[in-house]
């Protein structure tokens, strides 16, 4: 059964860190370069994220994410290098196109930030089970109903696409053309999507009843089957992260 998630099952220290610490890490590794706008700080944050990804053995999975954003980053480099308003000192030229130093440095800063944000989010997304993340948010006061919607979507969407595949096969076996020219495909779309939508509406009603009778709306305080990962090192991580943030703020205020 496929689940809509990028989670990678590994057994590393990073996987054992609780989701809230990871969220905190994202926030802080994004805000520190904003508070301290030096390229070296941005570079530092980026390399910390990359090291963490390497420790978690999921760096390979980040490469496609980063290379996807490369298209945008490349266009930023070209546009800033050619047309930034502060452009003064030419760096190099390709044919008639002159790239300027100021624009390229500005583009570099943006690239570092984007890659930094991507890597920080990748730590959370690749090393945390979605269900764990949602559960720890529910523990901290997120409404269980919203939590349910978030986690059920991850399972129901793949479920719907497999229903869709079943219906496609069924309609095909009755002689409907589903492949070929665009016009044929569009004609086939309605009879395929209709049953899927009707089916899921009916299922939703039945599922709502099944949830009701399992005390979903109970006013009792919810308990959790899984113990919270609240070991002391998770606390230490959080304290260090907040300390770093305060340090950055203090530096900004004082200097």
């Amino acid at each position: 059964m496929k689940i809509l998630s990028l989670y990678q099952e590994r057994n590393t220290i990073i996987h054992k860190v609780d989701p809230i610490s990871k969220i905190l890490y994202i926030i802080i590794s994004i805000t520190i370069p904003i508070i301290m706008p030096y390229k070296i700080i941005g570079l530092l944050c980026m390399s910390v994220s990359i090291i963490l990804l390497l420790i978690a053995k999921v760096f390979k999975k980040v490469i496609p994410l980063v290379s996807f954003s490369m298209i945008i980053l490349l266009s930023i480099i070209i546009i800033q290098g050619l047309f930034n308003g502060l452009n003064d000192i030419p760096a190099f030229h390709i044919g008639n196109l002159i790239f300027y130093k100021e624009g390229l440095l500005f583009a570099l800063e943006i690239c570092i930030r984007v890659i930094n944000i991507l890597c920080a989010f990748a730590i959370l997304v690749l090393t945390t089970k979605p269900s764990d993340l949602i559960e720890s948010l529910v523990r901290r006061g997120l409404s269980p109903k919203i939590g349910y919607v978030l986690s059920s979507v991850l399972q129901i969407i793949p479920q719907m696409s497999s229903t869709m595949a079943t219906i496609t096969d069924a309609q095909r076996s009755r002689g409907m053309e589903t492949e070929g020219k665009l016009r044929v495909r569009i004609k086939a779309f309605l009879p395929l999507i209709g049953p899927v939508v009707m089916n899921s509406l009916i299922n939703t009603r039945e599922r709502a009843m099944a949830l009701e009778v399992r005390a979903f709306n109970s006013k009792a305080t919810k308990t959790f089957l899984n113990e919270e990962q609240n070991s002391s090192y998770n606390k230490i991580i959080k304290v260090i992260l907040i300390f770093l943030l305060l340090l950055a703020v203090a530096w900004r205020v004082l200097i």
């Binding site: 689940i3 479920q159 009843m209 009778v213 305080t221 089957l225």
Partner: protein, 281 residues
């Protein structure tokens, strides 16, 4: 002690003109195993849902009469409150998967988490109910990866883990093979012997005849008869209600072999065997 008291229950679904239940009255003792039979659209499922509060709270619609379940009046109680007294298992196992849990074990825990059961007791109850239904070996699987029959047992286990005093089963064995449904019936019979009150809708007449203490025959939203299985299946007018007697009863009806003690036809293979053998001798 009366667990369920239903007095003149009338119910009409929203946007319909006809009553789905037309003044039903009966009561059930603690620990009884009640079978409900009747043709499609005779009101079986509606009656089941009226016992757990889905009728009227979930559907709304017109409601009359009174249903008291274990001292709680259904129309004045909330579903979540009722769900701790009475559990229900529906026909379609697929839509009973909560779809927010990744393993069978966590899936069973869903109801218990909502009720606020402590972790230790939760684990104990989950283990028990998984073993009772014979699906302990699948506890780490994804719920959607199970077969229809396994899913159906998981749905039952999810309700049993909540330890209701009454369990309502709406065709719980529709997806199971003969052996699987026999196992489920045995498991439910054990619960019934432990004092749980069981209400079961079922189309497999041989099974329902064998396990029920009393059977309710419904037709068009009304109770035709509510009595011991032998009396129900000895009626001559079963066909007109869209119900057939167990095959053993049919054979003995054909042979006109009745029990000399009760004057009724047999309903299980053992009873039928005894009577036929004695008759020949």
């Amino acid at each position: 002690m009366k667990k369920i008291i239903v007095e003149n229950l009338k119910y009409k679904y929203p946007l319909t003109n006809e009553l789905a239940l037309k003044g039903i009255s009966f009561d059930v003792e603690k620990g009884e195993f009640i079978g409900i039979i009747g043709k499609n659209l005779s009101g079986k499922s509606t009656l089941c849902q009226a016992l757990v509060g889905l009728v009227p709270h979930f559907y709304k619609g017109g409601y009359g009469g009174k249903v008291v379940v274990d001292g709680l009046e259904v129309s004045k109680s909330e579903i979540s409150e009722l769900s701790q007294k009475v559990g229900i298992v529906f026909q379609n196992p697929f839509t009973q998967v909560t779809s927010c849990k990744l393993t069978v074990y966590e899936e069973i825990a869903f109801g218990l988490e909502n009720m606020g059961i402590s972790r230790g007791e939760m684990r104990e109850r989950i283990d028990n109910s998984l073993k009772l239904l014979g699906i302990y070996k699948f506890k780490d699987r994804n719920p959607f990866d199970l077969s229809g029959g396994q899913m159906q047992r998981m749905a039952i286990a999810g309700i049993i883990a909540m330890k209701p005093e009454i369990i309502v089963l709406d065709e719980p064995t529709s997806q199971l093979d003969p052996r699987g449904s026999e196992e489920v019936f045995k498991a439910i019979q054990n619960l019934s012997k432990e004092g749980m009150t069981v209400i079961m809708v079922e189309h497999k007449m041989e099974k329902i005849a064998k396990y029920s203490d009393r059977i309710m025959l419904l037709n068009d939203g009304e109770i035709v008869d509510f009595d011991i299985p032998q009396k129900i299946f000895s009626r001559g007018d079963l066909d007109s209600y869209g119900v057939t007697a167990p095959v053993f009863t049919k054979i003995c009806k054909g042979l006109r072999i009745k029990s000399k003690v009760t004057g009724l036809y047999p309903i299980t293979i053992d009873e039928a065997y005894d009577l036929v053998v004695n008759y020949i001798e």
